[in-house]
Symmetry: C3
């Protein structure tokens, strides 16, 4: 960071945290129970950590995955992790945990095999104090808004509890209907059954109505956005075929092609509903899910085997944009795992369509160098106002301040260079820094307070 | 820019401008009429500007697109633009306009809502003076050669007028037969009708003859190059099918596949004609044109909705290179919007085939960081002598010096780093700087004087 | 290089050379005959050099390709090369040769047309001395291990001779069965005929047995790895079809599709054999071979016309990983020519699968900037321990120290920046430098001594 960058950084460093997309559990804030132990809090939910361990020969069984929580030796798992700590050198996980140990838990020891026990004890003791309960951490992290991600059929009991409790923390749901959109997904039939328990559904129009009602329910509990994960991005507008396809999907008789058509059409339906109810539409595209068949069989989904594939945003999003690209008030945020699309597709698209904003570097690219590449490739074509600020996208609650800090350092580093290049002065840079830190996230997700 | 870079920059900063590819109107130099006003000169023809405005919620109607020129409130449009000037921070447009206001119009005020009127008046007054007529600007910009881009059926009346006028400025046409090559393009039938008015055409051989005659006409007026825009690059050599395909194309009965075959073959025919007449062949590939259907319906083509897509140069160009890749004197310049092809395809290809040169960063990547990425990825494999120097590719006449200046700064920045890395000394760097500034553009386009 | 980088560089600069993948001739070390002359040693085998010359209008005939060695005017070729030396500015070839002239041959003159003769004489004289015989150079280069690449049916006579000679240099073969895997390759039938001369083969099971025996033979002579070059990466597990496909392949009646299926299946068979015999499996994917048809007809394969194409590692490797991805002791090293896959596919995959390591930047990207891009894009997701160190992949024996030096400088430059960014201290950096210089190559290829 050059001197200017440091100066810029200081102006945003302590900004509140706006976290409009992530995977924290709403139950934490509903119950406000103490977190059980360092391993369960920090290690177990973080697939960044266990995927690296796995790649270095540590089996998931070794770190307790597949073992009931109460039968795990959490201290042993913690020590096993510490023994592999050098494997994380150079990764954002290393930065995040270092920050978390020091800033969140006030522990200045360098983590490693020799200090693992001491740090475990330090954190474990902290977690037993009131200041480290979820709501207290939420406050001390200075979180302004935290969005969770919830299945469309989730009754949102915990969100309701949070509301009813009168607590002032703003924790809101996000509507994620993936399981209801893809008849080829094993989760489709159970999700449909759930939905039918909640709503009387008569054919495809009834299905759309049920979705609208679910969205309204989410909105009532504060939701401002939907989210859609897509391996291969494809959209289509084929209303004339949907009665048929819906009937087949319900009977489980869709071909792979028909299932893909159903899903492609539903994305456009979702966009049209957003035009009506104002929920911001997020698309996370290009992650091939659960690529490790053995792991999937043994441990289930989301075990760190999701791998990016190339994405065609231009042709993939075409039919959707044809339908709603010009509707005023429609907002859409795009997340890619294919960095070659930053300058080739996303920046040109966001620099044209009023409805589009580019989401921050996602997942593997949410890192110091990934952030540098992102700014390098999107800003010249899309400017700053077509970006969506930052979101941490994490299920590792305690890493949230660390992740926002890496982003803010990246913002400052980038802007410091821009000033040095003579593109604008420190005043503009500071203003843009504020936008990137919080302002754009608020406006992109309609979270202004 | 480091010290060495600055030293290198000073050696090329005031070089003449060689502009071998762009979209200026030849009528400007034929008529030499004063430009009407700042908005019409600077804003209206620049899709970089109005695409960003559109993305930020300014409709094209708001800036006068679709309104007859004489009914537009140009000052109001200018002020609307100024009100959104901060949206352009970090973009090359911001750099270009800042340079243009200061260097071309001698106006030191920082552009913005508060100064917009004053700057408008300043430029408007300048445009009424003889020194700001097109030919005078051409001279004061120190332009050595300016190539326009012209439909194959363009009668080149303005180019003829320029010639006949005895003016010493070198403005030359470029032969662009896209409309005649793609039977799936709405412009195909009218273009064919034009061509048939100009030449008697008997079947496919007659079509080829007519093309040869058009090329000869362009050449007689100074053309040294052809240009071909392709969304999906595909070439083929299928002479045995062309009689048939031509007949179908004329009747408008080609399938999409047949139209693509026709186009793929015509690219190879064009290359063969280049082998005969020496016109340098340019290919601009990977831009999906007019992706915004509503905009296309309302305002027509070229409204800032052309978006890049991934390009396969190796397989796409294979059949063409098989036919003419070894013909001595055949020159071909490739432009990509897919930066992942710089190091993967273009540099390896240009570092092998004698006929190939890599065009400069194009369109969205014609920017300081885009230029840095370009050098970073092509030089190690292709060297400097397989590049084609710079071209500004603009229809915004007054931005030409600014664009060449950004390139020259980028050249100097790159070479300054190379010297610092110890790859070569300041003498080699200065020589290469001269090549990149003007020499390679002259040799690649056969524009030596 | 910053100060820290220089300090790190000094700790690895003189490390022994571990060269686990390359294309040197084993006969050099078997016979230990003097190299004939500078041109034959340095220029003729280096397609990096003659591809650039070709791109700049020097025909392969001009530099003696296609002329019997004893009829070439090697000094004239050398001078022709020198006359084009400026074309190589900015390329790694320029760095490598500069290093070689100075460090290996102790010649401080700057190469160029004026000094070409003197340098030729200097090197020619050196080559006539015992210190420049292959084995002596091997020692003075401080090579710990050198792997060659050998067809599966190669009898390995020279490797046997090296063994029998009692020489202490470690030169080992690598098993490359490409010709036997792809029925669409012109080399398939002759390779099969070779194999049948060596082994009695009864149907597909017999073919597999013969491969196993060849692998055992390679292993007995020190091989620790196999290598597989694939244009389009595709793997499949279709044992039920292989009897049939094998019969068709032997008769030469496979369709293109069937040939691709055969090849896709054989890659998985090879991986399974690696699970049994411990040979590390290398895949070099995404090079389209011999794209210049005229050159192929005239001079044969490997004439600098291999060009990269986009690669889909995730789907391409899926079926293979499903079969053997979890087998303990299975090691696989992936090489890409598609840099967009570094951060999109290879780093996420290597950061998940225990069997995978990412090979160093390959071919066109084995260069200072290519190395910088590599570290920038892989480390944050894969860390350092999922990399495979360096290999020079060269048939230009005398360039080996130069290539390892460029890598080591790249390692130091990268790590120096990481220290400056505060990611880790100089001690960790120095340790990682040692891994990248030699340690990871040893462990990835099982070459520990």
């Amino acid at each position: 960071m050059n001197k200017t960058a440091r100066r810029i950084y200081e102006t945003i460093r302590h900004d509140p945290i706006v976290s409009p997309h992530g995977h924290c559990e709403p139950s934490w804030f509903a119950d406000d129970a103490a977190f059980p132990d360092p391993t369960t809090l920090i290690l177990t939910p973080d697939h960044y950590l266990f995927r690296m361990l796995l790649s270095q020969g540590v089996s998931l069984a070794d770190i307790g995955i597949g073992t009931p929580p109460d039968q795990r030796d959490n201290r042993a798992i913690w020590n096993l992790f510490a023994a592999h700590w050098d494997r994380f050198l150079g990764t954002p996980s290393h930065s995040w945990l270092t920050y978390m140990f020091r800033e969140t838990f006030g522990c200045d020891l360098a983590f490693g095999p020799d200090t693992a026990d001491e740090i475990y004890d330090h954190i474990d003791a902290a977690l037993k104090t009131p200041g480290f309960r979820p709501r207290a951490l939420f406050r001390s992290f200075n979180i302004e808004t935290l969005a969770t991600t919830d299945a469309a059929t989730d009754p949102l009991v915990h969100h309701q509890t949070i509301r009813d409790s009168g607590w002032e923390g703003r924790v809101i749901p996000t509507f994620r209907p993936d399981a209801l959109f893809d008849p080829a997904d094993a989760r489709f039939a159970p999700a449909m059954a759930e939905l039918e328990k909640m709503h009387d559904i008569e054919g495809f129009p009834g299905f759309l109505d049920a979705l609208r009602q679910r969205r309204a329910h989410f909105k009532a509990l504060g939701a401002t956005a939907t989210d859609h994960a897509q391996e291969v991005l494809r959209t289509a507008w084929i209303p004339e075929r949907m009665g048929d396809l819906y009937a087949k999907a319900r009977k489980g008789t869709c071909t792979a092609e028909e299932a893909a058509d159903f899903n492609a059409h539903m994305l456009v339906e979702s966009a049209r509903m957003s035009c009506d109810d104002g929920l911001v539409m997020q698309i996370h595209a290009g992650s091939r899910r659960n690529t490790n068949a053995a792991l999937l069989r043994k441990y289930g989904r989301d075990m760190g085997a999701d791998i990016p594939v190339a994405t065609d945003w231009v042709r993939g999003l075409g039919p959707l944009l044809d339908q709603v690209g010009h509707v005023e008030g429609f907002n859409m945020i795009l997340f890619t795992l294919d960095e070659s699309t930053y300058s080739r597709e996303l920046a040109p698209m966001a620099g044209h369509w009023p409805c589009l904003r580019i989401g921050p570097p996602w997942w593997f690219h949410d890192s110091a160098r990934g952030i540098a590449r992102y700014f390098d490739r999107v800003v010249e074509t899309a400017g700053y106002h077509n970006l969506a600020g930052f979101n941490d996208d994490t299920r590792a609650f305690c890493s949230i301040p660390a992740r926002h800090d890496v982003w803010r350092q990246g913002v400052a580093t980038h802007l410091g260079k821009q000033v040095k290049r003579g593109l604008f002065g420190i005043d503009d840079a500071t203003r843009i820094a504020g936008l990137l830190s919080t302002g754009l996230a608020r406006s992109a997700y309609r979270l202004e307070i």
